[in-house]
Amino acid sequence: MAQRAIREYDAKTLLARHWPDFVGGPLRYPGRVVQVGPDTPLDGLAEKAPWLAGERLAVKPDVLAGRRGKHGLVLLDAGWEDARAWLLRMRGTTAVVGGVSGELTHFVVEPFIGTERQYYLAIRTERDRDDVLFSPAGGIDIEEHLDQVRTISVPVWPPRDAPDFGPLFDGQPEVPAQLHASLAGFCAGIYRYFRALGFAFMELNPFTVHGGELWPLDLKARLDDSARFECGTLWGDVDFPAPFGRRLTPEERAVTRLDERSGASLKLTVLNPAGRIWTMVAGGGASVVYTDTIADLGRAGDLGNYGEYSGNPSSDETYEYTRIVLDLLTRGSGADGPGGDGKCLIIGGGIANFTDVAATFAGIIRALREFAPRLRSSGVRVLVRRGGPNYREGLRLMRELGGELGISIDVYGPDTHMTRVIGLALGGAANGGA
């Protein structure tokens, strides 16, 4: 559970839905925005949102990628027919943003507004306070005008209603004087909304005011998904998409499903399907340390995955999880026969607090046994390092398994430094376990 970004479409429709309850006041937010997903039929869309046909439009990918304008991924000031043609052309294509390539699956379509004054508003959460930031010089170059940013901090405790945001606008020559009061009111409203819905971050950059309406040209937001039990009904069915460029592979999806069904935690990210080093590490912290150390030893390019299991998963869960990893690991490795520079699997972990090592290993062992022929033909070496409840039994089972299956399984306990097995795996020295 963590802060999770939501789509611009969801951020805007959520704001429009709750505007009357939290903001209200003289400014209006009609929230005219249409989502085009991978399967949204474009024909007939203009009937559902009649304004599409009547307005000049702005169309942008809605895939959690920043700096879309700079990458030429935005269509501005277009009629619906042009927008439609553009969407048909762009939808499903791959774009590279900030060095990350990802598929353009979702788009937002909105009325286009000629850029008048561009303001900046952000709400950030710090440890002891919420910061509300305003700048009259909004837009993609906001970083270059930091001197114009004014901040009002609201302490998290004691809880109180939104403070007076007037000082953000007092004496701002860039903001028309007649807007100061209504913008201060808007800030108070959106701050209340931010707090009530469990947002962790929100940024309207830029936004403008046009004909008594507030226009967020871009709206980024992150929700704290651990607040679901308090705020979930206000969220509705908001979508938490994977970060841009992260298209889950079928194996990652399978692990995600396993994770959702389980009280324990099971995570898998495939980094390099052709990688030689694969890891199955117990514990959120330890899994990061193993990944770090492989990189420190200069072998990041050989790393197949980031994987983690923790929270005392059952034997059945570790079995299912291991099968998925072993399937990936033993794929298409004809060149890496025995004797060659084969692959290795590191079943690592620190000293568990309460996870039963023998029980979690029982599931891993079941899967290893099932995959034994493929592991043998791929020349896979297995290295194990673990401690915690019942670890002696778990390590013994692993040690015996190596002989039984004819696979190299080196087994280490707490007397071997947690990451030392990585060097042993990469160095090729297999001296047997402690």
Binding site: A2, V156, W157, F229, R246, G284, L297, F354, M418
Partner: protein
């Protein structure tokens, strides 16, 4: 801080610290008590448990002795009864952790509140942090295992198993204090420090959430002031900027003790798109929040920062050895912790103890994935349609009876299910039901009449016929012998039925056996006896009990599944009345329900139906 007011502010725990445990976490409580015991504490660290669903006592162990731990349903009561407790270990769920912690912060007695739950909303955590700061309470967590002070006090599950605590030399204080973000890795730190120094003095896991109740600097400044701490270890993590407070303090000279530090997550750059590492807070939104930047900053500020986690142990060892060589302190000696008995369950699992069981059971097993009757999984019983007769075969005789035998048992259950309201059993059930008794009492009242005179003749008949057939005793001899003893033959004779008015139930049973039984020697013998007795009086027929008893012997014998000794055991072992008991229970339940539906009032037997024979005192 009523009781701990004399403790210096940097000392959160000592050997007399007591804690209230919120949430019924029996394992964590026992873990704390076992730790206390191996540390040879005078008093258990667990003052009491708050269990919102049940008050009373939880029975734990102090060494090998049972130790009652008081349990209260509210925190307020726990605090009132145990004002000496200065630590709350809060195991409440993510949903209720906020409320419980906020309530605890309002009690001035707590110096430390540890919040274990993962998934507390960030805003709630931040409010708790601000509240705790205002009250001067140290908040550890959320999303943490807690922390441990070697030889003194342990929070909840920190330190892992007792075996690990002993192996990591946590029963007595060493000279190295650490603070870690990760709770999972804190145990690894206990291990690394134990293997490379004289051991841990104190270790705190801050918790993996974005906003932790206390941060590195809070604890490191305590360690700095604590004269028992010789060096400090910090294990940081990608995300957040709390590590910079430590770098600032190092530069400012507010930390003078050697500090070995490492921030994990240096490989985050490997992931081209944002991947959420294991912890909620493990996410870098800016260059400053990366592990690499933080390691650099700490190194630049004077901390010992290895090149990789791989060298973390060596950095700790070198720093420690330098201090020892400089004569800064005397390394702590190891102590022999008192032995703690293994939990019985663990010992059984490990195969190191055995015990003669008080009970033996050989018919059903509910321990596996599926309930089994005599080894046959219940789903197979149903799939193969064994029926009630088959289940009786499995549970009463531990074998799978042939289909004809199962059907015979079911036939018996049907014909003996009821015999009207006038018989003893039904009568008693009706009277009890009308007295307002419940179903169990009413049916039991009826069943208690089953015996030698009512329903019990199945057993008697089977016993007599079994012996006679086995001994080859001619029917005439049996009849003569019984007459000589002046005893009726069990299973022979009926109050209402006779040769001319036969019992239809007996006819049904006989006809079924003729069609399906491979052989019926006992029934034939019984019929031979009946021929002799009915010649004397025409109601001395083979009655339904006698018929069932004889045929059941035939069932056992002709099924070929039972040896002679087993058949004797059934005939003489008081088992066959079970058939009548089971069958008649159906009818008795029916009578109970019938009386309930009729709302029959209390029954009182009419005076005029009773002959009062007691002497009349008024008559001369």
């Amino acid at each position: 801080m009523a009781d701990t007011g004399f403790a210096p502010s940097w000392l959160l725990f000592d050997r007399s610290t007591r804690a209230i445990i919120y949430g019924y976490q029996a394992q964590a409580v026992q873990g704390m008590l076992d730790f206390d015991y191996v540390c040879r504490r005078d008093r258990p660290s667990v003052a009491c448990i708050v269990n919102p669903t049940r008050g009373g006592t939880h029975l734990a162990f102090w060494g090998s002795r049972p130790l009652p731990v008081p349990m209260y349903q509210s925190l307020a009561e726990a605090v009132a009864r145990h004002p000496e407790a200065s630590v709350l270990v809060n195991f409440a769920s993510a949903r209720s952790a906020y409320g419980v912690t906020a309530e605890a912060l309002a009690h001035p007695c707590f110096r430390v509140v540890a919040v274990i739950a993962e998934g507390v909303p960030e805003r709630r955590s931040r409010e708790l942090i601000a509240m705790a700061r205002e009250r001067g309470t140290t908040l550890i967590g959320p999303a943490t295992v807690g922390g441990i002070k070697a030889g003194a006090f342990k929070i909840g599950n920190a330190g892992g198993t007792l075996e690990n605590i002993v192996e990591s030399r946590l029963c007595r204080p060493g000279h190295v204090a650490y603070v870690s973000r990760s709770g999972g890795l804190s145990n690894e730190l206990n291990n690394i420090i134990a293997r490379n120094t004289d051991g841990v003095y104190e270790g705190i896991a801050l918790g993996g959430d974005r906003h932790a109740g206390s941060t590195y600097i809070d604890h490191i400044l305590r360690y700095e002031r604590d004269p028992e701490v010789a060096m400090i270890v910090l294990l940081g993590e990608i995300g957040g900027t709390d590590e910079y407070e430590v770098a600032d303090a190092l530069r400012a000279g507010r930390i003078t003790k050697p500090l070995v530090a490492w921030c994990i997550g240096t490989s985050a750059g490997l992931f081209s798109a944002g991947v959420q590492f294991g912890h909620a807070g493990a996410r870098a939104d800016a260059q400053r929040e990366t592990a690499r930047a933080k390691n650099e900053a700490l190194r630049a500020a004077g901390a010992v920062v290895p090149a990789s986690f791989e060298d973390f142990d060596r950095s700790i060892a070198e720093t420690y050895c330098r201090l020892v060589a400089a004569g800064k302190f005397a390394p702590a000696a190891d102590v022999q912790p008192p032995p703690i008995p293994m939990d019985f369950g663990a010992a059984v699992r490990a195969g190191v103890v055995r015990r003669a069981p008080a009970f033996v059971s050989s018919i059903a097993d509910d321990r596996g994935e599926e309930l089994a009757y005599a080894g046959l999984p219940i789903s197979e019983v149903i799939e193969r349609g064994l029926g009630v007769g088959g289940v009786i075969g499995l549970l009463w005789f531990k074998r799978e009876l042939p289909a004809w035998a199962c059907r015979f048992i079911e036939l018996v259950l049907q014909v003996a299910a009821d015999h009207g309201p006038a018989v003893s059993g039904a009568h008693n059930t009706i009277v009890a039901a009308r007295a307002g008794k419940d179903i169990v009492s009413s049916v039991a009242s009826g069943l208690l009449t089953v015996g030698p005179r009512f329903g019990g003749a199945i057993e008697g008949a089977a016993s007599v016929f079994r012996r006679a057939v086995k001994d080859g005793q001619p029917a005439g001899e049996l009849v003569a012998a019984m007459r000589a003893k002046g005893e009726p033959i069990p299973g022979i004779g009926h109050l209402a039925k006779s040769v001319t008015n036969p019992d239809r139930r007996v006819e049904l049973l006989k006809s079924f056996s003729a069609q399906h039984f491979p052989a019926t020697p006992h029934l034939e013998y019984a019929l031979a006896v009946e021929r002799l007795t009915t010649a004397k009086r025409d109601n001395l027929i083979l009655n339904v009990d006698g018929c069932i008893g004889a045929l059941f012997l035939d069932l056992l014998q002709s099924s070929g599944l039972f040896c002679a000794a087993e058949i004797d055991e059934v005939a003489d072992g008081g088992m066959l009345n079970g058939l009548f008991l089971l069958s008649r229970t159906i009818g008795l339940i029916g009578h109970f329900m019938d009386q309930r539906r009729l709302r029959a009032p209390l029954y009182r037997h009419p005076w005029d139906d009773i002959a009062y024979l007691a002497p009349d005192r008024h008559e001369p």
